[in-house]
Amino acid sequence: MMNIKSIYTAVKGLFILSVAALLNSCEVDTTQTVTTFDNLVMSDEFNVDGAPDSNLWTYDLGDGTSNGLPAGWGNNELQYYTDRPENVSVENGYLLITAREESFQGSSYTSARLKTQGLFEQAYGRYEARIKVPYGQGYWPAFWLLGNDCDVNIWPACGEIDVMEFVGDQPTKVFGSAHGPGFSGGESISKDYVLENGRFDTEFHVFGIEWSPDYINYYVDDVLYQQITRETIAEETDGEGEWVFDGPFYIILNVAIGGELPGSPNADTIFPQTMLVDYVRVYQE
């Protein structure tokens, strides 16, 4: 099987077509080269019980209003984020983000949103986490990156790379996306990946991107399922979109409840539930 990166280097002009053909193929070729960056520069294996490592992780708290957003983090989400142990802790080798149904500070749900803002920020690299997600309508767990200059380059100009998003009423599907000027929110560039014989809520899976100055590759386990390039953005946005993925980004892990994308929880949705993160690792070329 050909190495995607070497194809790119060798025959730049044909690259997009080749990858498009690869990605459009219904058959998963397990021999494909999924990643090429192997120089580990950061990892949290969550091996120390208690609060997450404060040298690496900080928090977004509340309902978004203190971040200058309307309540609901701009998406009409229903949760109030805290850093209480009830919502976020490290136990038995896992990071636990637990969403609860409880009346708290005017919200009906609590959860947590961890980020490495100001603690670990990097342009490019391979970002990977091994995660088991909660399920049921209303759950919206995510593993994503945000540009570190959103206070001056207002979103989406600062860029957002969603490594993994999941909505709880579609237990076999995840999707990876990128947001920037001309392609944000519902118009983001996005693709889903569906497990044929498994679920994301009953077992762990590895979610990752490999991000270079020229491409963002999205993978689940050993399957590369999407590539976004400058050309992709141009094609998807009729030339209006802009590649804004050259500056430092930071990592976010969160479990949102409700909002535009997943809809509100229903009578069958089970609370509390926990997103388990086995590790987060970042590599460079």
Binding site: Y135, G136, Q137, G168, D169, Q170, P171, T172, L195, E196, N197, G198, R199, D201, T202, D268, I270
Partner: protein, 487 residues
């Protein structure tokens, strides 16, 4: 070369075998079931089902099944079921099992029965399932009220615990009536019926007692049935579906074996916990595949049983259907379990000395009492396997009923006497009103002697075929004793 194994080589070989044995777990392999692990049932033709595999329910219209050589899911063949009109004289609904005639199968490697289905109109099918074999129905499992449209869709019935299905013959069954079509006939088709390994199912929770935590006072001799038992699965599409599951999929437990005694399976195939103590408390729970089921039943033993008044009429003047005071005439059943309309449980079998409650009298003899639960209607039947009963010399019907819940205004129990059987019946009815039913003795028993002249239309008393009790769900839990005719 000579076949000489030196001592050291032999030891080496033994060691090798031992090592290999540990790694491959030969001893485990040796006990694996040897039945075929075949999943396909009908894929445009029947697969490994043998020749004699179609068995309709006894009271269903028998000839509803055919193979349609024009309709099919991505093919031109499917199973066609013509559900009859409700008033079809040969049976008012469609229901049958497909039991392989080619030997049992090992289904333990699969996680669901799947098939594609459509109907001639939008309709809800009463039951689709597997594990019904008319040979004990040990692994019965089904989904109820499965909605079909006029285009093909895939139906998934998760297996509650596939590890139990190592030798199974009940491949597929259905029961379909016309409750949703105003009694009018329709047709549905099923295709690509097979057991599959989907990998996309999540066991949400098993449940007993519909997931409720129940409790009540109980008496020695009662048996508490684990009712409304099943499992909820979350499917690939995010939907929760409930699978009704037989007791064999569960492990049932009691917290105090001196209060309830061992849990056994009764004639109706239900798990029951007999009450063996006059005091104490026990909690009944269950697990499925090591997952605790939602729901429980806390029994609070309160002592001796509140018996019905013992009849004292001369036996010579009595024709008894159910009483310990008399020799009873043979009956076909104390509950006909008329699927799919009847919900009533209890009264299984035809033996008046082996029914739901066996409460000892002070002298040690047993007082047998029928306990109808989930009661909407039920009959005591004397036809087909037994003779119709001649009550032409009787002037009255006697019945004792103990209602195990509050009787509200408007609640009723209608008694119906029916002569003959099949298409040639006649009969009459008499309604016990809530006012009558509230007139009980200290033990809670309502006892009534009803002149047969109060059953207008019951004019063939020499050929009594069935005695019906009908509440239409206004009253759902009753004890019945001493049902007899006399003059």
């Amino acid at each position: 070369m000579k076949n000489i194994i030196t001592k050291s080589n032999l030891i080496y070989l033994i060691a090798l075998v031992l090592v290999v044995g540990c790694e491959r777990e030969l001893s485990d392999d040796a006990v694996l079931a040897s039945f075929p692990k075949k999943g396909e049932i009908f894929t445009d033709n029947f697969v490994s089902m043998g020749s004699d595999f179609y068995f309709p329910f006894a009271d269903a219209k028998p000839d509803v099944f055919s193979v349609d050589m024009e309709e099919g899911y991505e093919s031109d063949a499917s199973i066609r079921i013509d559900v009859p009109n409700a008033n079809d004289p040969t049976g008012g609904y469609a229901g049958a099992i497909f039991r392989t005639d080619a030997g049992p199968r090992d289904l333990s490697g699969f996680d669901a029965l799947t098939f594609w289905a459509k109907a001639s109109q939008g309709v809800s099918i009463g039951e689709f399932g597997f594990g019904l074999d008319f040979e004990g129905d040990v692994h019965r499992a089904s989904r109820s009220n499965v909605s079909l449209s006029t285009s093909w869709q895939k139906i998934t019935i998760p297996i509650p615990d596939a590890s139990k299905l190592t030798q199974e013959r009940g491949m597929f069954w259905f029961a379909a009536g016309t409750q949703g079509t105003g009694g009018n006939a329709y047709t549905f088709w099923v295709d690509e019926i097979q057991f599959e390994t989907l990998g996309t199912l999540r066991l949400e929770n098993p449940f007993i007692f519909d997931g409720q935590d129940l409790s009540r006072d109980v008496f020695i001799g009662e048996a508490i049935a684990f009712e409304n038992v099943g499992v909820v699965f979350n499917l690939e599409n995010g939907q929760n579906v409930s699978v009704v599951a037989a007791p064999a999929y569960f492990d049932f437990e009691t917290t105090d074996a001196t209060v309830t005694g061992p849990i056994v399976i009764n004639n109706a195939g239900q798990a029951v916990a007999p009450i063996i103590s006059s005091n104490g408390t026990a909690v009944l729970t269950a697990t499925l595949a090591n997952t605790l089921a939602m729901g429980s039943f806390t029994v609070n033993a309160v002592g001796a049983f509140p018996h019905a008044p013992v009849p004292n009429r001369p036996a010579a003047n009595v024709v008894s259907l159910f009483s310990d005071a008399y020799a009873n005439v043979p009956v076909r059943h104390y509950n006909g379990f008329f699927a799919p309309f009847q919900t009533t449980q209890g009264g299984a079998g035809s033996d008046p000395n082996n029914v739901d409650i066996q409460a000892p009298f002070a002298n040690g003899t047993l007082d047998n009492i029928i306990n109808y639960t989930s009661f909407n209607f039920v009959s005591i039947g004397m036809y087909e396997t037994v003779s119709l009963v001649d009550v032409s010399s009787a002037t009255h019907l006697h019945v004792d009923i103990n209602i195990r819940e509050n009787v509200d205004p408007g609640d009723f129990i209608r008694l119906e006497l029916e002569s003959g059987t099949g298409g040639t019946t006649s009969g009459g009815s008499f309604t016990l009103t809530s006012a009558m039913l509230n007139n009980v003795d200290a033990n809670g028993w309502f006892s009534m002697d009803i002149p047969l002249s109060n059953f207008p239309g019951f004019n063939d008393p020499a050929n009594l075929g069935q005695v019906f009790f009908v509440s239409d769900n206004t009253i759902t839990d009753i004890w019945v004793d001493n049902v007899y005719f006399y003059n």
